[in-house]
Amino acid sequence: MARIWIRQAAQRALDDAMADDPSVIVMGEDVAVAGGPFKVTEGLLAKYGAERVIDTPISEMAFMGAAVGAAVCGLKPVVEIMFIEFLGVALDQLTTQAATMRYLSRGRLTAPLVVRASAGAGQGFGCQHSQMLDHWLRGTPGLKLAATSNARTTYGLLRSAIEDPDPVVVLEPRILYSEREEYEFDLNYRIPLGKAEIARSGKDATLVTCGAMRRVALEAAANSNASIEVIDLLTIWPWDREAILNSVERTGRLVTLEEATAGAGWGADVVSTVATEAFGELKAPPHRITLPDAPVPYNGALEARYLPSPAYVTEQVAALVSNNKAPAPWWRSAA
């Protein structure tokens, strides 16, 4: 086991993918000469050259679209969107052009590109650099969406995304880049897209989460008197219905833990599916732990309150398990 920065798992995934497949190229702002604003592309320019590691102008629409064209013509572009919010100015190319390429050409053209984007709150970047924004993308036919949660899932998801025949967005919680973990690289390790994993087994409640909230969920479960099964979705779209339904069948309770505002979160889809398909198995109403419907605050104390903490999650799940009623979110009980 080696102790690595989680960002190094992303760097290794790119490095190994480029070594394995000469059609893989990397494009984005500051990814080549500077080695990436979060050091994820460090060393790639020296190893693979300027034809494959391309610094772009601050023109997300241009380089996202260029990734689409390059992918259609046989390359496998991995595009870095520095902060997921920057995708807003390039969304057309991803959700409207790349995602429909296969459909409109009746399977004769495909756009196997990967968008890597740093995402999420917790570091005081303010409301325009701290969102997950998976709801911009989730449910787009032809597009896949994953979120990394530690070194292993970062490597495994990125390798799978780069080998996938469809456009894939991989959200990388920025807060994890500078965390250290014990991890041994395995060149052959992959996490199949579309599959969730059980991060911790339990029997009283299924706690579904992803991204940086995985750590929060695991800590909450470890400190809970209830036996909580933590499931990391890994792929947010299309998500693993079978894994969730199987788990809820065992536990009888569903809680989602989302780094998303209540109005936007993926949990609404998970809850509606479980409520519809496993209604008879449920001992308690499905419950969502989300962010409030408000922008991400800058002030440290406010941001800490805004994000679900392990203690808050423990408390919420305990309330659900003990009396089978969904507890109010903090902002409503405080009001």
């Binding site: 034809e51 241009a62 064209g69 259609v72 013509c73 009746r106 399977g107 495909t110 032809g142």
Partner: protein
């Protein structure tokens, strides 16, 4: 003359080497657009269509200047370009009528024509979307070192969207083998250019991106081809992109529901006097490539051929309901057969 529709897209493309076939193709585009207009009133076409009557010289002039394995992106005003590049009238009319024999199997419609075998990526219904994609195709071509180029075809309306500026900048800074072809037909949707664009010539914008900007008489197919030849040579040589502005005119409104009542009086008549088909036919007559009555003969034959195509299309099946789910993602049914641009795609 043979019915060119019976040929493959590639064969139709290769036929453009012949001047008479170029004229025939321009006539074909006009004839198809006229027939599509009628099919609309007959209730055979859903949604919208955007006709290119009046812009035939640009379509054929561009298509004859590039190779079938060069990559082309184009807008939703793409019937003419698709036909010029080689898509059969059956492929175009079939698509617009939502039939299986359409070039996108009847799932795309008027705004989404596609034919990989002649380099045509799906035409995009979003203004400006094709320019960045062409840049990417050019990156791929350069990675292969195969001399291929990408051509982005768009209208004057696209010159005011960010994708235009970002793409010209991106292509210039990377010296990409791209030709940006702006069809300036004087109208962006329903609004005349002077109300949306502070410059009369889109080509002047090339100077901001340190590339040649050329203004071309888009009603003369030979002038279109000559300007294209220069830009294409520059791109293939590795000297970078060009912006080629074709001055042309859209005889109809923006889309089928637009009667174009906003046009200044006399403008349409002015342009009709510079009709691209007439200009080219007169030249071929003068050069004895065409005999007197030759144009009329081509027009009559083409009209008959298109009528046959329409009959074939209207008698042909609609896609099965299951096609809704085909080719959505790699896991979908439908049996994807990826088009291998430039042969072996094993390495970059």
């Amino acid at each position: 003359m043979t019915l060119s529709n019976s040929n493959s897209p590639l064969a139709r493309r290769e036929a453009l080497r012949n001047q008479r076939d170029q004229l025939q193709r321009m006539v074909e585009i006009r004839s198809v657009e006229n027939r599509i207009q009628r099919l609309f009133t007959e209730g055979q076409i859903r949604g919208s269509t955007h006709l290119a009557s009046g812009q035939e010289a640009v379509c054929v002039g561009v298509a004859r200047s590039i190779d079938p394995d060069d990559i082309v992106t184009c807008t939703y005003r793409g019937h003419g370009h698709a036909l010029a590049l080689g898509v059969t009238p059956t492929g175009v009319i079939g698509e617009i009528c939502g039939r299986t024999i359409g070039c996108a199997g009847g799932l795309g419609g008027s705004m989404h024509l596609v034919e990989p075998s002649v380099g045509l990526l799906p035409t995009a219904a979003i203004i400006g979307a094709g320019l960045p994609i062409a840049c990417g195709a050019a990156i791929a071509a350069r990675a292969r070192k195969n001399g291929r180029i990408a051509v982005a075809i768009f209208g004057d309306g696209s010159a005011n969207i960010g994708a235009f500026h970002e793409s010209l900048n991106f292509a210039a800074i990377n010296k990409l083998p791209v030709v940006f072809v702006c069809e300036n037909n004087l109208y962006g949707e329903y609004t005349r250019i002077q109300f949306t664009t502070p410059v009369e010539d889109i080509a002047v914008r090339a100077s901001s991106y340190d590339m040649p900007g050329v203004i071309v008489d888009g009603q003369d197919v030979d002038k279109v081809a000559a300007a294209m030849a220069q830009a294409v040579t520059r791109a293939r040589r590795g000297d970078g992109p060009s912006l080629v502005e074709m001055k042309t005119y859209r005889y109809s409104g923006h889309s089928r529901s637009d009667p174009a009542t906003y046009r200044p009086a006399g403008e349409l008549d002015f342009w009709l006097k510079r009709d691209p088909i007439a200009i080219f036919a007169d030249r071929l007559l003068a050069e004895n490539v065409l005999s007197p009555g030759g144009l009329e003969q081509i027009q009559a034959e083409t009209k008959d051929a298109i009528e046959q195509v329409v009959a074939e299309v209207l008698g042909s099946p609609a896609p099965e309901i299951g096609e809704i789910f085909a080719h959505v993602s790699g896991d979908s049914p439908g049996g994807d057969q990826r088009w291998p641009f430039w042969g072996d795609r094993g390495s970059a």
